[in-house]
Symmetry: C2
Subunit: 335 residues, 2 copies
């Protein structure tokens, strides 16, 4: 098992990414290959280079955050994210982890490994801690302008992923909209609703933003623009809420006592909402394992993403998704 | 001062709406006119009808949640929401409060009172408690499919509202997207970005979901689909977070002690995030005061919405917005 880590991707690359990879290697015993400028990586590694769980694969180029993903990935053949997927293609690595430009990660994954049969546009799936069950939000930012047929496919991929990799039996699918009534939503949603209604998926109709946390449905489908706004909003709310809670508690003597007594629980509660714990989001629909991390990922987030990648490889996530997609096609779940 | 309350609008109408209006009348001394079926309202009022601050205005029809707003409002001339705005038009009431179909509230407002000069599509503005300052999110659900020029106008209305009614000097405007770089976002956002860049508004570029709570900008512009998803998501997160916090705290003896000591603060913290406290969202761009409430509003939420409506009337919000819009036009802030 070897995980290719895009050392050049992320707001704090390569330092923090390298630290995270080192932690995955030393704490979890996972082999990591750091892809990027060897001198920068060496600087970030410092004296930690001794471990035989860490390899460095040099490359010259990087896709920047403000570049057009597809153009950049096509042009820069030696960009870290492309080289990472090349290693997977050639059998030298089993999965890719990147905190860089997520559009570029998607583009490089598709270009290098190809798409699974039946998938037009791969997507990023986010896993949220719903109250009744985990919730898979798909797409979380890979595809900003989607046709209804593509949104429908996100539902199929979400179904395949949740069934095969999260142990969910016939998971309930909801379409993110602004009201539960069929007539509510924008044009895109109204047309997509019809496609889901005609399918054999366990479709429960439109759901609202709050359902990302209720767990009443296990899969929430939306386009990548809405999904990414939602993701960033959840981060913002949980941060703001924790700060507000601390401020409120510190106002009174009893509150300060409560904060003191409850600090372990408050910390655990914060962690529960923390995307760093979840270790990145899987890229679904490509022929391989790719994990997309938040640009601002900490070393712990990168460590956990490497762990998730290894878990998905061990659980043969891609093969299971292929099987599930095939079953759905032969069962005419598509329509 | 008289506030027309749509007694038939909302998930728990007329009972809860009537209770809220009664509380506004008895606790705040605001005159309310309850619009709707007089027998249903009488049933909900029970023995509370004695107050001279409460009047009932009978009408026969209601716009349902699943109706097409514009069609329903045009057809049903005696619908409670239309009658409410008619009262304002005729000078028999000063403002409208409704927890019913928000699209219908918008349509009835436009149809009856008309739009302000320079406004193509009125919008609903949500006010969030940002960490550094309050944040106005516009549009929160009135317009689901918007052209870039319409999104730009939301920014202008947000500016006019925040400057004239919230005491903000030259408020910073951000465009909700999925990355701060100019190239990020869907097509709609990229085109809107150009319009803002050419304007004289205090435009700070793209912002992300988290900025609805940071207060780094005071006005966040998005279409009504994204805005409504965001609103419902915030509700869901704050509810889920409060529940998760309680669960965590109750796991240990110290945690339970913390919960006991801190319960007043935890309650205050919950209230801070509670939309019921904010008393509905103003409908901006119509020639009058209209307050849109959440369909699931409690009596307290309705009470606070009536209070907000009275406040806006007292503060001459509409006149101030007209002045601000005129100033912007003559100063060529538009482009």
């Amino acid at each position: 098992m070897k995980i290719a880590v895009d050392a050049m991707g992320g707001d704090n690359a390569p330092e923090v990414v390298v630290q995270g990879a080192v932690r995955a290697a030393s704490e979890l015993g996972i082999h990591v290959i750091l892809i990027g400028d060897k001198e920068l990586i060496a600087g970030a590694l410092g004296s930690q280079i001794s471990s035989d769980h860490i390899a460095v694969h040099h490359c010259e180029e990087v896709v920047q955050m403000d570049e057009s993903p597809l153009k950049a990935v096509r042009k820069k053949k030696d960009a870290s994210i492309r080289v990472a997927f090349d290693l997977v293609k050639n059998g030298d690595a089993n999965a890719v982890v990147s905190a860089g430009n997520s559009g570029a990660t998607l583009a490089a994954g598709v270009l290098t490994l190809g798409r699974l049969k039946g998938v037009e546009r791969p997507a990023i799936a986010g896993i949220f801690p719903g109250e009744k069950s985990h919730v898979v939000l798909i797409d979380m930012g890979a595809n900003v302008d989607c046709r209804p047929a593509q949104l429908f496919q996100f539902g199929i991929m979400g179904h395949a992923f949740a069934s095969s990799c999260m142990g969910m039996k016939n998971p309930k699918v909801g379409l993110l909209s602004i009201g539960e009534e069929d007539t509510k939503g924008n044009e895109q949603v109204r047309l997509t609703h019809e496609l889901f209604e005609q399918s054999r998926l366990n479709f429960r109709g439109n759901v609202e933003g709050r359902d990302i946390f209720s767990g009443d449905v296990q899969i929430v489908v939306c386009d990548g623009f809405v999904g990414n706004v939602a993701l960033k909003l959840v981060e913002g709310v949980s941060e703001a809420m924790t700060n507000m809670l601390k401020t409120e508690l510190k106002r009174s003597f009893l509150g300060r006592a409560a904060f003191l007594f409850g600090r372990r629980e408050i910390r655990r509660f914060k962690r529960e909402l923390d995307y760093e714990e979840y270790g990145g989001a899987p890229l679904l629909g490509i022929n391989g394992v790719g994990i997309v991390c938040h640009g601002g990922s900490s070393a712990r987030a990168i460590r956990n993403a490497v762990k998730t990648a290894a878990l998905y490889v061990n659980h043969r996530v891609v093969q299971k998704m292929v099987e599930e997609l095939n079953t759905m096609v032969s069962n005419r779940t598509f329509g």
